[in-house]
Symmetry: C2
Subunit: 117 residues, 2 copies
DNA sequence: GTAAACATTCACGTCGGCGTGAGGGTCAAG
DNA sequence: CTTGACCCTCACGCCGACGTGAATGTTTAC
């Protein structure tokens, strides 16, 4: 499929998809005319990218991680032992972030609840 | 106390504290010579600010919210009914964000677990 | 009264994930 | 063969919470 369809199917802008390719997160083939050609698997790939970006990982780290989740079963495969320390660090950061967000939400809840009306 | 002490006690840089004042999040008194003078309550206030900033709220919204959590009991007090819609929106955004982060963390966990060694 | 520690006000720099045109090719249908 | 729809490559813009000096003034301890 071409970039427009991938954009529609993922809800990600074309600009963002081109940016992802530039950052090594996608490697579409090309038509003779220079059009990018994506595969069905790229839809899932883009979803993973967005998820990890939303979690605060950099495109650089994601680019290194992606080869480790190549095939069918979502995750398995190669396994990149050298990335484990980084992934653990991100994991802990995410956990801390979740706790902060939870605390902040509690604060908001208390403020909302305390509103006189 | 002066800015250096507040910075030490909150772990927030002096630059950030000045920025918070500029954004209306703090209103320190001044000495004759122009030095900012903060109160003990400002320590808590700064913690709240950081918490809400970390949760993705803008300084502008936080500035509007702070008068609603003035006094002792952390939150109560004035109550700003007109802010409730905004706070609800942020609350929902935070909830969605927590879910995303949780999903991303699960993905990381699976990748870490799938590492061959 | 003087020096060290502490503070002040600008004001430009940063960073990263895109948004947003501009100017111009490619492709499929009729 | 032409006309949309679709795509391409630059390349500057943006945003927001500060970082980072530079040049200067204030306090306090001795």
């Amino acid at each position: 499929m071409r970039i427009g369809e991938l954009a529609r199917r993922t809800g990600v802008s074309e600009r963002a998809l081109r940016y992802y390719e530039e950052q090594g997160l996608l490697q579409p083939a090309r038509t003779a005319g220079g059009y990018r050609v994506f595969t069905a698997a790229d839809v899932e790939r883009v979803r993973h990218v967005r998820l990890l970006l939303a979690a605060g990982l950099s495109t650089a780290l994601i680019a290194e991680m992606l080869p480790c989740m190549v095939p069918a079963a979502d995750v398995l495969a190669p396994g990149c032992p050298e990335l484990v320390p980084y992934m653990n660090r991100e994991r802990d950061r995410i956990t801390a972030s979740i706790e902060e967000l939870t605390t902040a939400r509690d604060l908001l809840d208390r403020m909302i609840a305390a509103t006189p009306v």
